[in-house]
């Protein structure tokens, strides 16, 4: 059963990833990204990370992809892009070489080192996954116990990101005159 779910999720993820890279229209790429993210959420469920699977669907497939689509529509770049012309000569062969090198490295590591960790299992304690608690309870205890400072830093990071986005996209009243006449109004 787990093998079947894994196979379905793997096919979903890889097909979606290829779709993101190969689709000419950015809107289609965003929709293929949703497919990949749902596949990842399936793998999370398979590993008993139910809370993260829900967060994955809500935050990624919900918020982040909607943000992508919103910007695509806002900028009006939802036109099909010609993929056959190669902007920088030699870019694609080099990209394939880099991909093959990455595949060789990661393949070697996985084939020779996957079982290094297989004998190790943490014992009990609140971090163990096989305890009584549900996954959300366990994560909450660890996040607000051991990682409380990191959670606070994360809050600061989110605030900085919101302020930064406003500063970057805000249109100052005086900079309008400096902008070239052909620039897109809005």
């Amino acid at each position: 059963m787990a093998e079947a779910v894994f196979a379905v999720a793997a096919v979903l993820m890889l097909a979606g990833a290829v779709g993101v890279v190969a689709s000419r229209n950015p809107v289609h790429a965003a929709l293929f990204l949703v497919q990949t993210l749902v596949g990842v959420a399936l793998l999370f469920i398979l590993n008993d990370a139910h809370f993260l699977a829900a967060v994955q669907v809500v935050v990624y497939a919900g918020a982040i992809v909607i943000l992508f689509l919103f910007v695509i529509m806002l900028l009006g770049v939802d036109k099909a892009e010609e993929l056959r012309i190669e902007p920088i000569s030699g870019q694609r062969p080099l990209a394939v070489v880099v991909g093959a090198a990455l595949a060789a490295m990661l393949g070697t590591v996985i084939l020779t080192g996957a079982d290094v960790l297989s004998g190790i299992r943490r014992g009990g304690g609140e971090r163990a996954l096989d305890g009584e608690a549900t996954d959300i309870e366990r994560m909450g205890r660890v996040l607000f116990g051991e990682f409380a400072f990191a959670v606070e830093i994360t809050a600061a990071l989110l605030t900085i990101a919101v302020v930064g986005a406003v500063v970057l996209t805000r249109r100052a009243a005086r900079s309008d005159e400096a902008a070239p006449a052909g620039s897109v109004g809005g």
């Binding site: 790429a29 990204l33 990842v40 993260l52 935050v59 880099v98």
Partner: protein, 105 residues
């Protein structure tokens, strides 16, 4: 060597590696900045799969906590990145990653 019988961590790592490679090649090949960001998201998700699989295999919730923080950082990265794309497109409509070679608009 990797045990090929049944579903073990090695399968998850192999799948995550494949997803990461597709994302990396896409990042190098595409020149629409929005699609490049989506490829970065693919790579982040590949790493998330690795965290979850290894966390499950080690019986430790640390993998899930790492995924949680990766999700937050990915959200902020997308917000800032898309704000930059919008700011650049105000100056030069339809700009691709190749056009932005100078740090002046």
């Amino acid at each position: 060597m990797m045990d090929l019988s049944g579903l073990n961590t090695g399968w998850y790592l192999a799948l995550a590696a494949a997803l990461f490679i597709i994302g990396a090649v896409g990042l190098l090949v595409r020149r629409n900045p929005l699609v490049m960001f989506m490829c970065v998201e693919l790579m982040l998700n590949a790493v998330n799969v690795t965290f979850i699989a290894l966390g499950a295999s080690l019986n430790d919730v640390g993998g899930q906590v790492a995924v949680f923080f990766v999700l937050v950082v990915a959200a902020t990265e997308v917000v800032i990145g898309l704000a930059l794309v919008v700011a650049i497109n105000r100056r030069r409509a339809g700009a691709t990653a190749d056009d932005v070679t100078l740090l002046k608009g």
